[in-house]
């Protein structure tokens, strides 16, 4: 029935392994983008959610939060929100990975003569693209509530680049989470449990100066604080962390790079290892 209609010219086996791997990543990235086109509501975590959070914090909590060293809360908030709107895509990454495992699609991929790392790499690239949307939405809503870039385009681009680097590294943590959990519900919950303290015990929404003494070091060393401080510094927004003596508060940009590289070095190989050995 399936008459052989394949000739050597139909195959890509003559291509170099690197080109083949890049081809696989491209095919799977297209797949993730096609999924978004078919179910655009999956983008709500980088569209509706940042809008909600910014408006809630700006207009509900904002009036009650004083910024040490002065400055408006709206200008302060956006630097922290940027990190949050990127980091909060990680639970979605975990859910997507678990769903592929559950449907058996990952099994099919593992039985194909394709690159082992392509499935996960494509996943993180697609998520990076959604994070660009999240960063854009956050910035636009920020502009609408009165936030401004005070230091010019160069540092601002650096701030967005740092945020996306951190967001991308964080996505690999989401992939690992998805590889070790057994259901989409569990991934959703685990993501929430990890993500909520990570963003809230930081200077993303409130200055650390107001926290109890024992909690301050935790918040000051939290990568979300470093990212928020780095963005505030680069945007020229109020940055109370500049008055904090902890090393990450004094070198926020370097701290973000260190955290991101550390996460990539740990989670990317771990994710690939889990993918290779996953016996389900």
């Amino acid at each position: 029935m399936t008459a052989v209609t394949l000739s050597p010219a139909d195959l890509t086996t003559e291509r170099s392994p690197l080109l083949q791997s890049l081809g696989d990543v491209w095919v799977l990235t297209k797949r993730s983008l096609a999924r978004i086109r078919r179910e655009p509501e999956t983008l709500s975590n980088v569209t509706i959610q940042p809008v909600m959070f910014i408006l809630m914090f700006a207009y509900v909590f904002g009036g009650a939060i004083g910024i040490p060293g002065g400055g408006g809360y709206h200008s302060y908030l956006v630097g922290g929100m940027l990190g949050m709107s990127l980091a909060q895509t990680a639970p979605g990454t975990a859910v997507a990975v678990v769903s592929d495992m559950e449907t058996g699609l990952i099994d099919r991929f593992r039985s194909l003569p394709m690159s082992r790392a392509a499935v996960l790499t494509a996943r993180t690239i697609a998520d990076l693209l959604t994070q660009v949307i999240g960063a854009t939405v956050t910035a636009l809503v920020g502009l609408a509530i009165g936030w401004r870039i005070e230091n010019g385009a160069g540092p601002a681009i650096e701030a967005f680049a740092l945020a996306l680097l951190f967001g991308y590294a964080f996505t690999w943590a989401g992939v690992c989470l998805g590889m070790v959990l057994r259901s989409a519900e569990a991934a959703q919950q685990a993501g929430f449990i990890i993500f909520l303290p990570l963003t809230f015990i930081s200077s993303a929404f409130v200055p650390t100066q107001g926290m109890p003494g024992w909690l301050q070091p935790v918040a000051e060393w939290n990568p979300m604080s470093s990212l928020a401080a780095a963005c505030r510094q680069l945007f020229g927004n109020p940055n109370p962390a500049a008055a904090v003596h902890a090393w990450p508060a004094q070198h926020p940009e370097l701290a973000v790079v260190c955290w991101s590289v550390a996460m990539l070095v740990v989670f990317a190989p771990l994710a690939v290892h889990l993918y290779r050995t996953k016996a389900r």
């Binding site: 394949l6 010219a9 081809g23 096609a34 058996g104 593992r110 194909l112």
Partner: protein, 328 residues
Amino acid sequence: MSDNAAIEAEGLVKHYGKTKALNGLDLTVARGTVYGLLGPNGAGKTTAVRVLATLLRPDGGRARVMGHDVTTQAGAVRRVIGLTGQYAALDELLTGRSNLVMIGELSRLTGKAARRRADELLEQFDLTDAAGRAVKTYSGGMRRRLDLAASLIGHPAVLFLDEPTTGLDPSARALMWDIVRQLVADGTTLLLTTQYLDEADQLADRIAVIDGGKVIAEGTPTELKASMGGQRLLITLAEGSDASVAAAALRPFTTAPIIPNDWDRLIEAPVTATDGLATEVVRALDAAGVKVNDIAVRSASLDDVFLTLTGHTAEENAEENEKQEVSA
């Protein structure tokens, strides 16, 4: 090992904790044939397929597919196999055609060839009308067909079908059987797992009955049935008849003791077929005062083979074993 074999496995072992999913499995499948792995859920069928399809590393033993070792030459194995698992491995949100094109491209086809093959397969599997719809709108039978099409897109020499018709209605099942027969006519080697005896009987050239992670019987369906030697006697008693009286009256004819069911008026027993057997049985029952509604003598089925070999029927305990197999 012979060059003629598409699949060869020797002493495959796979443990999950204390459970031995595979316990020294041996298998040889000749090229261009259909080989049926028959066994209840939890027997190790799926684990065997996953090892042969390079998804699992065996803890012991070795296996080759088209001459390539599944552990040391996994990449080469993946270039010649197709796998259709128990659950349709498709992207629910994508269209049927997008799924095929994606899997084609990942199977080392160029984009152009993948699109051409996708259209050919959609046509062959009667899915052209649904090609532009998301897979989540497909019926169970359509999903299985698309899933099978996906595993054929790279034209594999060896195809693994893990319970291809489980959960399908009879017409979808018959359609799958037709497709499988056509595939074989095309020269593809097929390893098929099933818990349905009639399926193995209908499709497979050879069958291995597996239980407890190893092969407990092997041969053509005819050989397996012949190995049970003899015929089965089936009697339906009239209402109010005493099954234990009937069982006692039948004892001289049967080659194994009958265990009568009081709640069931059906008696089934192995017998040695002789001319006039049915007549004599009816006379004996009549003499014992047992009334008979129906009597039949038939050849042993694979069901009987299975029951005799494993001590349980194929579908028995399926429910409780299912979890084990899935988590395996």
